[in-house]
């Protein structure tokens, strides 16, 4: 180890996190940034590595949608045959500098945000938010879904890219996040303030573009309607920042948390790229009418990168508007949740101060040791997908990261250091 103590190593990791400078610089087709997507039929998915046969309904539904969207298949049956037949290669988003919400399904022509972390010079990518209702990330794959994806590919993505090109340095995401956290966002369940700030920042550039007036109206309307639009930017931000922190190959700070519907996976700073997995839990929460806990798919998606980054469920207290997803509780329960999360974190991030928390900073750096020591599992705010393919979202709630991942990680690290 390059540090005198574990605490010193962890301090170095969290300094990288709090010192990061993420900027939204571009939107490009995924294949332009992720070379692996150019090598035949390739699909990126959320969570640690998984095979088709192990995927739950929403992820499979999402893969089918991607195969149709990319033109590999003309029908669902055809798509399913190819996917089950091994014609399509699966890669976790995390392995190619990307993250993806829910199923996380990302294919060559889907537009992705490009977030550049200027403190380290690395980049991270995430597909754009499709809005709510029947959407690919929750496993829906009807024509309506495909049509929207095509529109995002042809109109929305290029428009935002051109608008960003007019800015001097892109959009400074630390600034947007710092503002929005004071406005009641926690960046997982609630992104409405950040989405509005994004719209406020980007629209002056969009109106300058030489483009079809109807398309322009559609783009602005979509951004105005899509409350969770910023979530995917927040995810790419989290990925860019946490990957930079991962360059310090010491310490026990959690640098990634993600789920594929079967396994929960984490990485810790001292163990580099290695995943430590355990079976995922199923989120508990509130359901749309006609649905119940029975319909809930097990925990899925890379969006837990937001919690890794110290927001989302970890910053529950910042978002009084969503606190009631915890259950019957109100503000005091949200406070208790965030206070509990500080018990497993190394520090607090003074870049993101939370007014409802007496201006304490958001949680910074989950220490896997503390998770194991206290048994306090990180809490994640999450959407809940129907476990059947193609049905979409059925509710939202919270879920805990299973502590077994953290136990495996620190054990492996102790072995690596020759301590056991």
């Amino acid at each position: 180890m390059n540090y005198k103590s574990m605490d010193e190593a962890n301090k170095a990791v969290i300094d990288k996190i709090s010192g990061s400078a993420p900027f939204l610089v571009d939107v490009v087709p995924a294949k332009e940034k992720i070379k692996e997507l150019n090598e035949g039929k390739v699909i990126l998915h959320a969570g640690p590595p998984i095979q088709w046969s192990d995927m739950t309904g929403p992820m499979q539904g999402s893969c089918i949608g991607a195969a149709i969207y990319e033109g590999w298949a003309a029908s669902e049956e055809d798509a399913e045959k190819q996917l089950a037949g091994g014609e399509v290669k699966f890669i976790p988003c995390h392995h190619v500098n990307a993250v993806g919400p829910m199923g996380g399904i990302t294919s060559a022509n889907m537009p992705v945000f490009v977030v550049e972390n200027r403190s380290e010079g690395n980049e991270a990518y995430c597909i754009m938010n499709e809005g709510i209702g029947k959407v690919l990330r929750f496993g829906a794959n009807s024509q309506e879904v495909i049509d929207r994806l095509k529109w995002m590919q042809d109109i929305l993505g290029p428009t935002i890219a051109k608008a960003l090109a007019l800015t001097e340095d892109g959009l400074n995401l630390n600034v947007i996040i710092a503002k929005a956290i004071t406005m009641g966002d926690e960046f997982h369940q609630r992104n409405i303030a950040a989405s509005l700030i994004f719209l406020k920042e980007i629209s002056p550039y969009i109106v300058q573009l030489d483009m079809d007036a109807n398309d322009r109206k559609d783009v602005i309307q979509f951004l105005a309607d899509t409350d969770q639009f910023f979530l995917n930017i927040a995810m790419a931000t989290g990925k860019a920042v946490m990957d930079a922190a991962r360059t310090i190959q010491d310490g026990t700070v959690v640098t990634a948390m993600c789920r594929n519907g079967k396994d929960f996976g984490i990485r810790i700073s001292g163990m580099g790229d290695e995943w430590f997995t355990a079976p995922v839990n199923t989120p508990q929460g509130l359901f749309f009418t006609g649905f119940s806990q029975e319909d809930a798919n097990p925990d899925i998606g890379d969006s837990a990168i937001t919690e890794t980054f110290g927001v989302g469920g970890m910053a529950m207290i910042a978002a009084p508007g969503v606190t009631r997803f915890v259950g019957a509780g109100g503000f005091d329960d949200a406070l208790a949740t965030s206070n509990e999360m500080t018990e497993i974190c190394v520090s607090q991030n003074s870049n993101f101060t939370i007014p409802t928390w007496d201006f304490q900073g958001a949680c910074l750096g989950i220490d896997a040791r503390k998770v194991v020591e206290t048994g306090i599992e990180p809490i994640i705010n999450t959407g809940i997908a129907n476990k059947k393919a193609g049905m979409g979202q059925v509710g939202a709630g919270t879920v805990r990261a299973p502590k077994e991942c953290f136990e495996k990680a620190i054990e492996a690290y102790a072995v690596k250091l020759g301590l056991i």
Binding site: S5, M6, D7, G131, I132, G133, K134, T252, L286, F287, F288, T289, G290, G321, V322, R324, F325, A328, G329, G330, F331, D332, D333, A336, N339, E340, T342, E343, R369, K370, V372, E373, T374, G375, I376, G395, E407, I410, E411, Y413, A414, L417, L419, I420
Partner: protein
């Protein structure tokens, strides 16, 4: 049949409406209900749920839509009423907890950076580790936990002594720091008498008598029962004595213990003789013929309190405080009815009873301890029901009346029993109404004895003050009304019980003689941490039992509740790995 209510321009956020939907869905007579804002996306969700109506379709994004599938149209008024009620009453009633709860030492220290006392009540096997962590953080330790090894106790006390800190306990049941009751302790007036005691109920008995005599206690420092034994050697007792010697508001120092190891006793005595303040000492079971020098040694706990009060008031110390008239008229005993059954919740009170009774029986003043019996001689029985033998897997008899109830009924059924002796220990930690809890058994035992032609006497003492959370006067009144003879002190209660069976303790009339000053020069100074422990309000990290925070809250003491769990959930392998990853 679908019914729709549209509330125009009535915005509520989606979570709120999901909660509202859940709440309405529990009403009887509804097949299905959904309440959402009438946005285009939500209209699709209504459609999927089979709840789409023309009114809904006509509604706009800022309208709240309530669509109900019900067979009875009248239901809609009730639904609407309930919706209105819900929307008007959204503040969630939540009892606010006035203190911070943490789960790690780091957070505890963040929450209360100037903490100076850790009160530890975690299971014995983990207690030493937690005490170590507290000492490493510069905290004094009040260790309620028992089942800590003597080796650990010695190590911790030496470590504390070297760091200028105090370890009270393990198995320290009682303490009072600057008026703040710790663990099982009474609300005692603040005053000029300082106590150091290797005995929980000993401290409670002495401090409550002092209170009732109109004086007060500066501090009561518990040391744990083994402190004056080998091999601990009174490390905490001696540091506690030094602390009180250096505490200007303490004028009288009082020490309480069961019989110590002899060389330890001598060492403590030498220290006491070198103090500048007068000392009252009681070593239960020691019956001296004189007061020596600086140290007024008492025979009973009550006498200890009385001497301390007289010294504090500048009165002359009397030769004896124990004598008095304890006779009971018309004892009305049958032939063979001659035994006493002392059924105690307080260990030291039980020991005191054993000392007095064995003295009266001419057995000397020994306390033994066999299976919880501190005295068992020809039917005379004194039981410490707080002994481990009776508390395995059960709460202490100060909290739980069950074991004592059984013993009371057994004793009543024993034809030789003349008197049942009881203690009612009030204060924080104790049962909130032990009189009411035990009276049914007492009444039953008395009535059964009466049926078989015997008079069964019940003599009790209530150890408490008028400011205790339980009512002292109420207890006394309730017991007296039930026919129980209630005495001011345990000493009086035991002597009353003895007089019923025609026995009496002869007391020494003590003279005051010069003490032998030791050649040994004792260092009477204390560390800064100990000096500030006795000169300031304690600031407490309560590691373990949440119930102990009641006294802290009530006295407006700064504290943090540390909801302790074993490291890594008790997984030894993980705990080991954690200890390596430093």
């Amino acid at each position: 049949m679908l019914h729709t209510i549209i509330k125009k321009n009535s915005y509520q956020d989606s979570i709120n409406l999901m909660l509202l939907t859940n709440s309405i869905a529990t009403m009887e007579g509804l097949n299905k209900v959904q309440i959402m804002m009438a946005t285009p996306a939500n209209k699709d969700i209504f459609k999927d749920a089979g709840l789409h109506t023309a009114e809904l379709e006509a509604a706009e994004s800022n309208d709240m839509a309530i669509v109900v599938d019900t067979d009875s149209a009248e239901m809609m008024d009730t639904v609407l009423e309930k919706v209105e009620q819900y929307l008007n009453d959204q503040s969630i009633s939540n009892k606010k907890q006035g203190f911070e709860t943490v789960r790690t030492w780091d957070k505890a220290m963040d929450a209360l950076p100037n903490a100076n006392v850790a009160m530890i009540s975690v299971p014995g096997e983990y207690a030493a580790d937690e005490a170590d962590k507290a000492l490493d953080r510069g905290l004094h330790v009040f260790m309620f936990s028992d089942n800590v090894s003597v080796e650990d106790e010695l190590r911790l006390k030496q470590k504390a002594h070297d760091k200028g800190l105090l370890v009270m306990g393990p198995d320290c049941g009682t303490g009072i720091l600057d008026g703040v009751p710790l663990a099982f302790a009474n609300v005692v007036n603040k005053g000029r008498i300082g106590l150091v005691g290797a005995s929980g109920t000993g401290i409670q008995e002495v401090s409550t008598i002092i209170d009732r005599l109109g004086e007060g206690v500066s501090h009561a420092i518990g040391t744990g029962g083994r402190d004056l034994k080998d091999p601990i050697g009174a490390i905490t007792m001696m540091d506690g004595i030094r602390a009180l010697e250096n505490h200007s508001q303490t004028e009288i120092i009082t020490i309480i213990s069961k019989p110590p190891a002899e060389h330890v006793r001598n060492e403590v005595m030498e220290l006491l003789q070198s103090l500048t303040k007068p000392v009252v000492a009681v070593f239960l079971g020691e019956k001296l013929e004189q007061y020596e020098g600086n140290v007024y040694q008492a025979y009973t706990l009550a006498e200890t309190a009385h001497i301390a009060v007289d010294l504090a008031r500048g009165n002359e110390v009397k030769p004896d405080y124990n004598a008095g008239d304890f006779s009971v008229e018309n004892a009305d005993l049958k032939e063979g009815q001659k035994t006493l059954k002392g059924l105690y919740s307080g260990g030291t009170l039980a020991s005191e009873a054993a000392v007095l009774i064995s003295d009266a029986l001419g057995l000397g003043t020994h306390i033994k301890n066999e299976e919880g019996y501190v005295l068992k001689h020809e039917g005379q029985e004194i039981v410490d029901l707080g002994d481990d033998k009776y508390t395995q897997g059960k709460p202490h008899p100060m909290i739980d009346p069950e074991t004592r109830s059984k013993f009371i009924e057994q004793a009543g059924a024993d034809e030789t029993t003349a008197v049942i002796l009881l203690d009612f220990v009030l204060g924080y930690g104790s049962h909130d109404d032990m009189a009411s809890a035990l009276l049914p058994s007492i009444n039953k035992a008395v009535a059964q004895a009466k049926e078989s032609g015997r008079t069964l006497h019940v003599v009790a003492t209530v150890c408490g003050t008028k400011n205790d959370p339980q009512s002292y006067d109420g207890h006394v009144k309730q017991l007296r009304e039930a026919g129980v003879i209630v005495k001011e002190t345990n000493n009086e209660a035991v002597r009353t019980a003895l007089s019923i069976v025609g026995l009496k303790v002869e007391d020494n009339q003590k003279k005051h003689v010069e003490g032998t000053k030791s050649d040994k020069k004792f260092d009477l100074t204390v560390s800064e941490d100990i000096a500030s422990l006795v000169s300031e309000r304690p600031r407490v990290i309560n590691v373990g039992l949440k119930g102990f925070t009641d006294a802290l809250s009530d006295t407006a003491t700064q504290f943090v509740q540390y909801d302790w769990r074993p490291v890594a959930g008790g997984n030894a392998r993980m705990a080991k790995i954690l200890s390596l990853l430093k």
